[in-house]
């Protein structure tokens, strides 16, 4: 129900220019926005503390990277992201496939899943903090809990979408349950499962930063930004956001898009 199709596959971009022209074309909007930012920072009414110029942010970024603070924060965030997502993937795929295969499991689990899913994940955060205490455990469990829902939904839909006739013909040709699962159901449901994992990871990423702000973890990009607010270190906050953007872009380019291309090319079934 929630986030089953997050981003529709977009038609390929029209490519009509050499790499150099494309690079300048892509850089142009950033130059314009950067120049505007500089103008406001230097001439505008805001004090430099609230609205630092880009060179201050860049200097802070380099300083914090060289003394190892930013990498440490980023590493902790990534570890939490992978731990939470791994838990979610394990639980979500198991539950989803179980729900798709067994009528009994579906009847039992679907009401629970439908009740839990429409509540935004962050709304659970204070509850989890009370139950598990502030720190790593709550943040990882919360991220896992929230990102499990899209995975469950998509695995469930995927297993259900496997054509009946494939199952019956495999059975007619004498496939036992295990081979039926490995050679028919799993490949048939895989595009959905991968979509679910992609959506789950995106979900985990979207809330992890906020969870880190709420859960008072000692390291992590969310905490870095939130802590810097106390000391009015806007340059540190913006440097943190830059790292978040870089990680987000890397997830997008190195994880989501390859998965999507892989499934589309291989099965041609993600319309």
């Amino acid at each position: 129900m929630y986030d089953v199709v997050d981003q529709l596959a977009s038609p390929p971009l029209r490519v009509d220019a050499g790499p150099l022209r494309r690079a300048t074309r892509n850089a142009f909007p950033f130059v314009v926005v950067g120049a505007l930012w500089e103008a406001v920072a230097h001439l505008g009414p805001f004090p430099a503390q609230f609205f630092p110029s880009l060179e201050t942010v860049a200097a802070t970024f380099v300083r914090l990277t060289l003394n190892g603070v930013l990498p440490h924060h980023a590493l902790d965030t990534l570890i939490r992201l992978s731990a939470g997502f791994a838990l979610a993937a394990l639980a979500g795929v198991t539950i989803g496939i179980l729900m798709g295969r067994s009528r009994r499991a579906e009847d039992i689990l679907l009401p629970l899943v439908s009740i839990g899913a429409p509540i935004p994940g962050l709304a659970y955060a204070p509850l989890f903090l009370l139950w598990f205490g502030p720190g790593n455990v709550s943040s990882v469990v919360l991220v896992a809990f929230v990102s499990a829902f899209p995975i469950i939904y998509n695995c469930w839909t995927g297993v259900k979408a496997v054509k009946d006739i494939w199952l019956r013909s495999a059975q007619a040709m004498g496939a036992d349950d295990r081979r039926l699962f490995r050679h028919v159901i799993l490949p048939g449901a895989l595009p959905y499962i991968l979509t679910g994992l992609r959506l789950g990871l995106a979900q985990a990423w979207r809330i992890l930063v906020a969870v880190e702000m709420l859960a008072a973890v000692p390291w992590g990009l969310g905490w870095l930004i939130f802590g810097a607010q106390e000391f009015l270190n806007t340059d540190v906050m913006l440097a943190g956001i830059a790292v978040i953007a870089i990680i987000g872009l890397a997830l997008e380019k190195l994880v989501f898009q390859p998965i999507e291309n892989f499934t589309v090319v291989r099965w041609g079934m993600m319309s």
Binding site: P11, F30, L127
Partner: protein, 261 residues
Amino acid sequence: MSPDRIRSLRRGVLTLLVVAAAYEAIARSGYFAPALMPSLGTVAQTLVNSILDGSMLHHAAATLYRVVIGFGLAVTVGLPLGVAMGRFRPVEHFVLPLSSALMPIPSLAWVPVFILWFGLGDTVTILIVFYAALFPMLLNTWTGVRSVNPIWLRAAGAMGANERALFWKVIIPGASPFIITGLRQSFLRSWIAVIGAEMLAGSDWGLGWVIFDAKEFLDTDVMLASLIVIGCIGFITEHLVFGSIERATIYRWGMARAAKG
């Protein structure tokens, strides 16, 4: 109802009863402090009381106000901009790189920065909602406009449609499955963002704020009651509002297949 459906229903109800009973048993066993795990009766009573004295309604109204304003702003900016991106190349070349750089940043990461810039209160929450809702709206509209079959455009042009008629009669209906998907995703994102933003940039009212505030006083019953209200609002908007919009537009125009994408 077929016997199959009745059995499903019976099993579903049974599960919920078993889970509720298990929760109640743990809550009453005294293993956890009642402050951490209130019994269902307490939660229900808190919920009813807070609705009757109007405080819960006030919280819900404050949250909905922020969502509606932020989401409305995102649609007023995102929809025309997305159409312009789909129709005019220079706009696409300018907006697309910026939005692909900003989109991977979770909206809630901006909360501390926005608090510094705009102070605590409604402005921050509304802007965060706007940020969260803008990109799904923008990109879906853009994709939708580009996916309009060029033959339709040329056919309409050949039959003498001007730019305005083209826009209202061909492009908007053609792109509608994507636009509606965009609206839906935008609203979902806004709903998540508003709860988080209220927790972090809390003012005096709002469902996110009340949950976070209740944690300070260990009012777990208030937290659970607000969770129920949040879940109900999410469920209603998802199923009733967007479900009926979809029925009124996509299905009527016979484009349901495209929307299932």
